[in-house]
Symmetry: D2
Subunit: 323 residues, 4 copies
C-alpha cells in the first residue's frame, strides 16, 4: 500500500464561521517536513493556488526532493478564488470556462515537471444551489468539452474526476460514482477516470466497496482519498473514527480487483494536530489490513460466495479478535 497525504491537511483549516482558521499556518517547508515524517508516507498531493502555482514549480520540486516525497496528484484550483464562485468548467461566462481549462493545462505541465502522473479534478463550484439554476444539458456539454480538451492535451497524464454530492454547492454536477463514471466514459478518453473520496461517497449514500467495485470493473478507479464522517456531510475526519466494516469491505475489494494506486489521506483536522490525524489514519488502515491478511482473504471470498450475514459478522469478529 502506497500512502500519501494532501499537503494542506497539515496547515490551517477554516470554516465559514471562523474564516481565519482554527490554527496557525506553518510554512510550506514545515508541512513537507511533517508529511515526510509520517511513517509510510511516500507522497503528497498539492492543491493549486494554495500549494502550487505555475510560478513555484521549481521551489516545490526542491521541497519534494529534499523530503524524498513523490508528487502523487495535483488538484488544479477550480474552487478557491472568487472567479470560480459560479462555476469553472460550467461557468455561464465563456472566459471563465476558458480559464478553467487553461488552469488545468498549466497544472498538467507542472505535473510533468514534477514526475506526477495524475491530476485530481474536483470542480467543486460546478453545480447549482437552487431549482431552475442548473442548466443541465448545457452544463454537461460544457463539462465534457472542458474535460475532453484537457485530457487530449496530455494523454500521458490521467485525469481523476473527484465526485461529491454537495458542498460548496447544494448540488454538484459530478455527484456520485456512477454519474461520474458516465462522464468519464462519455469523454471517450482513456486517461479520464474517477477518484473515490470515501467521505464524499458516504455522504452520497454509497457503499464505498460497491462504488470501488463498479469503477474497478470499468478500469476507471484512478485515485483514492480517505477520511471518515457521520454520513450526512463531508466532515473530513480521521479514518476509522466512525466506520469499520465498510472500510474492511473496501480494502478487500481494492485488493481483490487489483487497485494499485495511492491511498491518500484527505482530511480537515480543524481542531486537531494535522500530523497526528493523518498518522493515526494510516496506522489504522495498516492495522485493519494486517488483520484481514492474517484472517485470510480466501476465507472472505468464501463468505462472499455464501452471502450469510450471521457468518459474515462472526468472521469479522474473529478477524478483529472480538472473541
Amino acid at each position: 500500500m502506497k500512502f500519501s497525504v494532501i499537503l494542506g491537511n497539515l496547515g490551517n483549516t477554516c470554516d465559514r464561521f471562523l474564516s481565519t482558521g482554527y490554527k496557525d499556518q506553518p510554512s510550506k517547508a514545515e508541512m513537507f517536513r511533517q508529511a515526510a515524517s509520517i511513517q509510510g508516507v511516500a507522497g503528497v498531493e498539492l492543491v493549486g493556488t494554495w500549494d502550487i502555482t505555475a510560478g513555484n514549480v521549481a521551489e516545490i520540486k526542491a521541497l519534494l526532493e529534499d523530503n524524498e516525497l513523490a508528487c502523487v496528484a495535483i488538484f488544479p484550483d477550480h474552487f478557491a478564488q472568487k472567479r470560480w464562485g459560479r462555476g469553472a468548467f460550467t461557468s455561464r461566462e465563456p472566459g471563465i470556462r476558458r480559464e478553467a481549462v487553461e488552469t488545468t493545462k498549466e497544472m498538467m505541465d507542472a505535473a510533468i515537471e514534477l514526475g506526477c502522473a495524475t491530476l485530481n479534478l474536483w470542480p467543486g463550484q460546478d453545480g447549482y444551489d437552487y431549482c431552475f439554476q442548473g442548466n443541465f444539458d448545457e452544463a454537461r456539454d460544457q463539462l465534457l468539452d472542458g474535460i475532453r480538451e484537457c485530457a487530449r492535451y496530455r494523454p500521458d497524464i490521467r485525469l481523476a474526476l473527484e465526485y461529491k454530492p454537495k458542498e460548496p454547492r447544494t448540488h454538484s454536477y459530478m455527484a456520485r460514482a456512477a454519474d461520474t463514471l458516465l462522464v468519464a466514459l462519455e469523454t471517450g478518453c482513456d486517461n479520464v477516470g474517477v477518484t473515490i473520496d470515501t467521505g464524499h461517497a458516504f455522504a452520497a449514500g454509497e457503499n464505498i466497496a460497491e462504488s470501488a467495485a463498479l469503477l474497478l470493473r470499468n478500469k476507471r478507479l484512478f485515485h483514492l482519498h480517505l477520511n471518515d464522517n457521520y454520513r450526512f456531510w463531508d466532515d473530513d475526519m480521521i479514518v476509522g473514527s466512525v466506520h469499520l466494516p465498510e472500510y474492511i469491505e473496501l480494502f478487500y475489494w481494492l485488493r481483490k480487483k487489483g487497485y494499485d494506486g495511492w491511498y491518500s489521506m484527505d482530511q480537515y483536522p480543524y481542531r486537531e494536530d494535522g500530523r497526528g490525524a493523518l498518522n493515526e489514519s494510516i496506522r489504522w488502515i495498516e492495522a485493519v489490513c494486517r488483520k484481514m491478511d492474517a484472517f485470510g482473504p480466501e476465507r472472505l471470498d468464501s463468505l462472499l460466495a455464501e452471502g450469510n450475514a450471521v457468518r459474515v459478522c462472526s468472521a469479522l469478529r474473529e478477524m478483529l479478535g472480538l472473541v
Copy 2:
C-alpha cells in the same frame, strides 16, 4: 399529459407492524372501477401475483375493456413471494434466477395480449443488507444477463428498470438514476431504459429534474412513477404534499425534452382513501402545469439561461400567484 395509477394503490396496504393492512381489500372489479372514475386517468399499471398472473390475463383484459383503461405497464413480481427473498435476478440459486427471467417473459407475453408496451422491472430483492453480502461483480453479471435475455425475448416490449436506493434491502443493486442508466446501456439493448419513481429519487438524494434530464438526454427515460416523501424514505405520499419547486422543475424538463410517456401515480395511502389520494395527486399536477403554462415556459428558459436564484424565486412566486 397521460395519467395512470397503479391498481393496488386502490386496495389495502400493509407494513411490517400491521401485516394485515390498514384497510379492507376491495374486489379487483371495484379497484378498476375506482381507477376509471378518477378524472383524467386513462390507464392502470398491474403488479404480478397481486393483480395479474399468467392465468388471469383474459379476466384482466375484460376489466380493462369494461372500464376503458389501457394497461400502461406490468410489474413482474420479483419481490412478493418467499422464493425471491434473497434476490431474483441475482439470487445465489440458479433456479431462482431462471424463474426471475421466466416470470418476466410470462409477463411480457401478457403485456402483448393486453396491448401494453412496457414492463416496469423493479427487482426489489436484488441487493444486499450487510457488508460482505453483496457479491458485486457476479451480481452485476447476473443482472445484466437476466435483463438482456428478457429484452431480447421481445424487442417490441420496453423494459423500464425502476431504481430505488433501499427497501426491502438496505442496498439495492439498481439504486440511482446513473447506476441504472449504466446497466441499461451495458445491456446493449435499445428496449431497456429506466423508470424514475420520484420518491425513490428523492430518497437517493437526487434532484428529480436533473435525473430526468440525464435520462432524456440518453433517450432512456421510459416511465415515470409519482409520489412524495420527506427525502429519507419511500413514504409514498400524495404528490405535492411535501415538494413543490422540485416538481415544477421536473415538469419543465419533461416537457422541454419531449417526454411523451405516462404520468403514473404510485403511492401507498396506508390510512387514506386510495382513490382520494390518487385523484388529489393528479389534480395537483394538472394545476401546477397549468400555472407553468400560463407563466410561459419561454420565460423559464430565460431564467435558466441566466441562473439567478433571486429571479428564479421571484418568478416561481409570480407563477403561483404568491404576490
Copy 3:
C-alpha cells in the same frame, strides 16, 4: 450485563412487499427454547397480541419457567391491529384512546403475574404523516393523560417510553430522547421513563452515548434495545454490523453512570437465522466490553477529560488490538 431478546425476533418477519414473511413461523415453545439456548440470555420481552394476551398468561408463565427465563418487559400492542391504525393514545376516537389505556393496564396486570417490572410502551401509530394532520397540543394532552393514568394504575410497574423518529408514521409523537424525557417528566410520575432503542436513536440523528448520558443524568433510562442500522432507517440489524466507536462510547457511559437494566436485543432478521443474529449480537457486545475492561475504563476517563481526538482514536486502536 443482563441479556435478553425480544421473543418475536426468533419468528417470522415480514415487510410491506412480502407480507407473509421471509421465513416460516415456529411455535411459541420453539421460540422460547431458542431464546434460552443463546448463551447469556436470561430473559425475554413479549409483544402484546403477537406473543401475549390477557388470555394466555398462564401458558406464557409455564414457558418462562420451563426455560428458566425472566419476563424482562412487555410491549402492550398499540400498533398491530387495524383499530390502532390512526393512533392509540392520541386517536381522534375517544373509544380507541380508552382501549389504548385498558390494553396497557391489562398488560400491567399480566406483568405482575409474570414477575415483570417493566412495560415498554411503543405507541408507534401515535404520530402523523402529513402537514396539518398532527393536532400537536391536543395530542400531547391525550398522550400525557393516557400515560399518566396507566402509570398511576400500578406505581410498582415502570413504564419505559420507547421513542422512534418515524415508522409506521412519517413522524412519531415520541420521536427523540429529549422529547420523550420531557413527556416522562411532565407526567409527574416517577415510574415513567424512557427506552433507548439504539437503532431508533441513530435514525433520529443522535449520538447514542449522549442520549444515554442525558437520560441517566435524569434517572430515566429505564430500558435498552439493541440493534444496528445505516442511520437513515430502522434496519434492525445485528449489533456491530455497522457501528463500532459509538457503541464503545455507549457502553462506557452506561457503566460510568450505573445503568443496571437489561441489554435487550431487538432486531428484524428478515432473511437471517434469528437465533444466529441475536447470538452474534450478544457475543459482539460481550467481546467489545471485555476489550474495554482490559484497556481500563479509567484510561478512558482521562481521555474524556482531555478531549483530544487523535489520542482517543489511538486509544481505541490500542483497545481493539489494531496495532
Copy 4:
C-alpha cells in the same frame, strides 16, 4: 408580522474553500441602508465581533437611528475567534468559559443601550466532533452554569438559545428543540428560552410547526430565524425555495398560539445579491400568509380537528389557487 434581517447577510459570505468570500464586503453604513430599504423590515440583528463590539455601540446606535431600525437581537460572538475553537461555555479551559460569560454580559449591556430585548445565544463551538470527546455531564453543568449566570445578570434581557444539530462541530450540545427547551427549563430562569432557526430544525429532522407548538406551549419560543435548505445541511437559502406545506403549517401554529416576536431572516446568500435574497424571502412569507388569511384559519382549525390527509391536501391546493 414584524420582519427583521441579520445584518451580515447583506455582506460578504465565505466558506471553507473560498475563505475570502464570494462577494465584496460593503461598509456597515451601506448594509444598514440596504436593510432599511427592504419593504417591511423594521429591525436588524447584530453579530458580536462582526457587527458589534463593546467599543462601537454608539456608532451602531446612530446607524440604527439614522435608518429607523430596531435592534432586534444581538448574537454574542462565541464562534468566530480562535479562542472559541474548542468551545466557549463548555471549553475545557476555565478562562475561556469565563470569557464566554463576560462576552455575553457585555453584549447584554450593549443591548440595554440599544433598546434591544433579546440576546440570541448560539454557542456553535460548544459540542464535539469525535466519540469520547464530549464530556457530556460536565459540559451540561458548564452550559447551565454559564447561561444561568448570564440570565441572572440582567433578568430584563431575554436569552434565546439557538439550537442546531451540527456545524461547526459534528455534534452541538444544543442540537434540537426539546433538548434545548430542557436546558432552558433547567436553568430555572424565566428569561431563558429558545430560538427556532427553521433551517436548523429541518436539518435536525424536525417538523418546524411541531417544534414551534412545543415551545409555545411551554412559553419559551423567544425568537425565530428563517431560511430554507434541502434537509441535510444548513444551506441557509431563500425562504420558500424548497419547502412550502411545512411553512404554511408553521405560520398557522405561530398565529394560533400567539407568537408575537420577530420573523427574522437568517441566510447565507453566498452567490446571490443579499438584499434580493432577503427581500424575496419576506415577500414570499407575506404572500403565503395572505393566502392563509384569505382561506380562513378557522377552516384550517376544522381540518386539523379532522386529520384527513386528502382533505388537507385539497385545502392547501385551494388556498394556493392550484385548481
